[in-house]
Amino acid sequence: MGGRRPASAAADADQRHGHHPRHLSRPAGPGSGGVTALLEYAGVGKVFPGVVALDGVSFTVAGGEIRALIGENGAGKSTLLKILSGQYQPDSGTLLVDGVARRFAAPRDSRDAGIAIIHQELQLAPDLSVAENLMLGALPGRFGLVDRRALRRQALAVLERLGEPIDPDSRLGDLPIGRRQMVEIGRALLRDARVIAFDEPTSSLSARETTRLMAIIRQLRAEGRAIIYVSHRMEEVFALADSATVLRDGRHVFDAAPVGPDDEGRLLSAMAGRTIADIYDWRARASGDMAIALDAITGPGVTAPVTLSVARGEILGFFGLVGAGRSELFRLVFGAVPPASGAVAVGGAPLRPGDPRAAIAAGLALCPEDRKEEGIVPLASVRENVALAWRNRAGATPLLQDRAEKAASTDRIAQMRVKTASPEVAISTLSGGNQQKAIIARWLMADARVLLLDEPTRGIDVGARQEIYAHMYRFAEAGGAILFASSDMPEVLGVADRIVVMREGAISGIVARGDATPERLLRLALPDADAAAPHRMSA
C-alpha cells in the first residue's frame, strides 16, 4: 500500500527477478499468431503524491489473448486499468491501441476507442433501470430522446447472452449484488469493445455466476478480443489465462505464458518479492474460561440462529465465501446493528443489544472490514484515532487528559509498531497496513478483551500481515479472545485454533484446527455442497 518512495524502492530488492521482466516464453495465445498486439503498455509510469504507483510497466495483449494481471494489494493493477479507461493519465510511457499511441483524457475517449473496463468497484446508477444501466453513457436515442424500444431490445439480447433472467425494466438498486456485477459486465459486452479489462470481477459472484462468466470470457477470446483479467484467485487465473503479468510495487517483475498451476510458486514469489516462508508461525496456546457466548443470534444477513462460545486465549477463524454473513454476524455481536433475536454474553454478563458503547464497555472491539468507511477518521491524527475509544470509555472525564492520553497512545503505537512519522500526522497519510495496526492499537488502548477482526489483513502486504498475526497471538496469550473473519483460506488455516465456516447467513460447520483441510472448508462454504456436515455446536 501507500508510503512507497522512489528512493527506498531499490533497497528492498533482495530477491527480485531483475528490473526487466523475464519471459518464460513468448505470449502465444490461441488465435493471436504473434502479430501486432491489440493493446500495448510501453514503459507506463504513474506517480501519486508520495507513492510510485507504476514504474515503467510494459507488456502487450494480443487479440484473442487473455492476460492475467496479478500482484499483491497496491501493486498497481487497478491503476494500470484506470489509465486504460482514461481515469488517470500516465506520467511517463505510452499506451498503444492497435499500434497507435493513445492518450485518453476522459473515460469517454477510452470508450470511443473500443475499450471497456469492468471496475473493481461497481459503477452503476441505482435508481435507473437495468437496461439504462447497461447502456449508460451511450443511451440509444434520436434528437436526444431515448429510443426505448432499441434500449429494451439491446438489453434483452445482452442479458440473454449473460444467461441472466433479469427484467430489463427493474430498478438496478433492487438487484442482489451478484446480479449487479453481471449488469456491469453486460455493459462491457454491449459496447462490443475490442479490449476488455476485468478488475476482480468475481469478488461478488456466486460459483454458478463465476462459471458462467468464465464461459463468456472464453467466448470473447474466441471472437478475437484482447482481454485483461485481474484477480487474486489463482484457480481462476490458471483456468482462464493464456498468459500472466506480475506486478510488484508498481513494477513489472515477471511474465509467464502459458500459465498453469505449475507456475504457482514462481508467481507467488514474484508477487511477494521473496519466497514465502511460514508467515503464520502458529503455536499451541492454553485456553481459559469462557470469554464470549453467542446465543441464537439472528439479524440482517444472518438468517439461521448462531450459537457459539469462545474461550479466553482462543483464536476463532470465520471462513466463508463473499456474502456468507461473517461481517454481518460480527456487526450483530458488536451491536453495530441490532440483532433480530438472540443474545450475547461477555464473561457471563448479558450485553445490551444494538449498543456498541455497551459492547465496548464489556471489553468488545470491532475492527471493521471496511477500514476507510468504518474504521478511521481520516483527517484526525494517528493519536486521535488511537485514543478515540479510550476517550469515550465508560467513566471517562469530559475534559481531555492530554498527558495520560499521549503516554498511553504512544505506548500502543509503539507496541503495534505503527510506522508513522509522528503520532500527530493525519492517519490518512499512513499505508493501509499501518492504518489497520492503528485501529488495533485503538482497542488495545481501550482495554479490549474480545477482538472481532473482520478481514484484518485485507489490503495488507505480507510483512505487515506477519506482524498482525504475531500481535493476535500475543493478545490471545495474554488471555484475550479473538474472532476473526477472512476470505483467505490459507490465512484461516494458518492462524485459527478453530474454524467456523459460514454459508448464506448460517453456520455450515465448525472444524478444529487439526481436522481442517482446504477441501473440507470449501465443501462447507460452497452453496451447492451437498455433503455439508450437520452443524454441531461447540461447547
Binding site: 470508450r111 459503477q123 446493528v337
Partner: protein
C-alpha cells in the same frame, strides 16, 4: 412496480385527494370556478420553477438563488422594455439574465466543484443586489400594455401564466423521462462517479441543469412581471423554500437519483391548496409561517420514512447502518 412501491409513490397523491375533499367540504366557495382558477394562478410561480428544481435535486444539488433570479429577470425585462420600448427585447434580456445566473452557478458548482448550497446562498445575495442595482432600488413600471397580456390574458379560457407552468411541467417531464440528458441527470444523482466512468459528460450536464434552472426562474420572473405590470427588485424572497418544499412533498428525494414530474405537480398543488385554504379560512399570517414550515418538515420526514431503510446510495450496507444520517 410492487404494491407497496405503488403506495409509496402515491402517498402524495392520496394526501392531495384527502386535502381537496376536505377543502371542498369545509371551505365555502372552494370548488367555485373563480377559486379554482385563482388557486391555479397562485401556484404558477412556484410551479414553473419546481420542474427544474426537481432536476437540480435529483442531481443531489440544491439551488437557493431562484427567488433572486425571478426578481432580476423581472426587473431586467421592465428596464429594457422601458428603455427600448420593445417587448421582445425586454423578454430576451430577462431570459438572458436568468440563464446567465444559472450558468454562473453551474460553472462554479460543477467546474470548480464547490458546494451548491453555499454557492447559491452567495448568488442569492448577489443576484438580489443586481436586481436592486438594475432597478435603481425601486420597482420599475412597464410602459407596454401589450406585455400585460402575458400576465392577465388567457387562451382557451386558461390564463397564460397557467399555460406557461403547464409547459414547464410537460417539457421537463419529458426531459427527465424521455431524454438521454434526463436519464443522465438521474445517473449523476445516483452515482456521479459511475456516470462519469460510463462516459456521461457529468460537468456539462451539471452546468446545463443549473442553466435551465436559471432559465425557468427567468420565465417565471417575466410572467410575474407581466402579472403585476412592473419589475419588482424585492419580489419572491423566500421563494426557494416554497419550491423545494413542493418538490420534497412530491417525493423528489434529497439524496438524489429520484424524481417524477407527476409527484412534483402533486406537491405544487398540495402547497397551493393548503395555502389557499389558509387564506380562505382567514388564518392569520403568523400561523401561515408555521404551516409552511410544518409542511416542509412533514414532507422531509415522510421522505425519510418512505425510503424506509433505504439510505442514500453512496452507503454500502443498505440495511445495516441504522444510525447513519443521510446528507444530500
Amino acid at each position: 412496480m410492487t404494491a407497496s412501491r405503488l403506495f409509496q409513490r402515491s402517498g402524495p397523491l392520496i394526501l392531495l385527494a384527502v386535502l381537496l375533499v376536505l377543502l371542498s367540504l369545509f371551505v365555502p366557495d372552494f370548488l367555485g370556478l373563480r377559486n379554482l382558477r385563482g388557486l391555479m394562478l397562485s401556484v404558477t410561480l412556484v410551479g414553473t420553477i419546481a420542474a427544474t428544481m426537481m432536476l437540480v435535486l435529483a442531481m443531489r444539488e440544491v439551488d437557493l438563488s431562484v427567488g433572486s433570479t425571478v426578481a432580476l429577470a423581472g426587473v431586467l425585462t421592465a428596464v429594457v422594455i422601458g428603455a427600448t420600448g420593445s417587448v421582445a427585447l425586454g423578454v430576451l434580456a430577462g431570459l438572458a439574465g436568468g440563464t446567465l445566473v444559472g450558468l454562473f452557478n453551474g460553472v462554479v458548482i460543477a467546474g470548480l466543484k464547490v458546494n451548491s448550497l453555499i454557492v447559491t446562498l452567495a448568488t442569492m445575495e448577489m443576484v438580489r443586489g443586481l436586481a436592486f442595482l438594475v432597478s435603481g432600488g425601486e420597482s420599475v413600471a412597464i410602459p407596454a400594455e401589450a406585455f400585460y397580456a402575458l400576465g392577465s390574458g388567457s387562451f382557451l379560457g386558461i390564463n397564460w401564466p397557467i399555460w406557461v407552468m403547464l409547459l414547464s411541467f410537460v417539457v421537463f417531464g419529458l426531459v427527465v423521462n424521455r431524454t438521454v440528458f434526463g436519464r443522465n441527470i438521474l445517473a449523476i444523482g445516483g452515482n456521479p462517479e459511475a456516470a462519469r466512468l460510463a462516459g456521461v459528460p457529468v460537468t456539462r450536464v451539471r452546468v446545463m441543469v443549473f442553466a435551465l434552472q436559471g432559465l425557468a426562474a427567468a420565465v417565471a420572473g417575466i410572467v410575474l412581471a407581466a402579472r403585476i405590470t412592473s419589475g419588482q427588485p424585492n419580489t419572491s424572497m423566500g421563494l426557494e423554500l416554497a419550491v423545494i418544499s413542493a418538490c420534497v412533498l412530491g417525493g423528489v428525494s434529497l439524496s438524489g437519483g429520484v424524481a417524477t414530474i407527476g409527484g412534483v405537480i402533486v406537491g405544487v398543488l398540495i402547497m397551493g391548496a393548503a395555502q389557499n385554504a389558509l387564506n380562505l379560512l382567514n388564518v392569520p399570517t403568523f400561523y401561515q409561517y408555521l404551516v409552511r414550515g410544518g409542511i416542509l418538515l412533514v414532507a422531509v420526514i415522510a421522505d425519510r420514512l418512505r425510503q424506509g431503510g433505504r439510505l442514500p446510495t453512496f452507503r454500502r450496507r443498505p440495511a445495516a447502518a441504522p444510525n447513519e444520517t443521510s446528507h444530500a
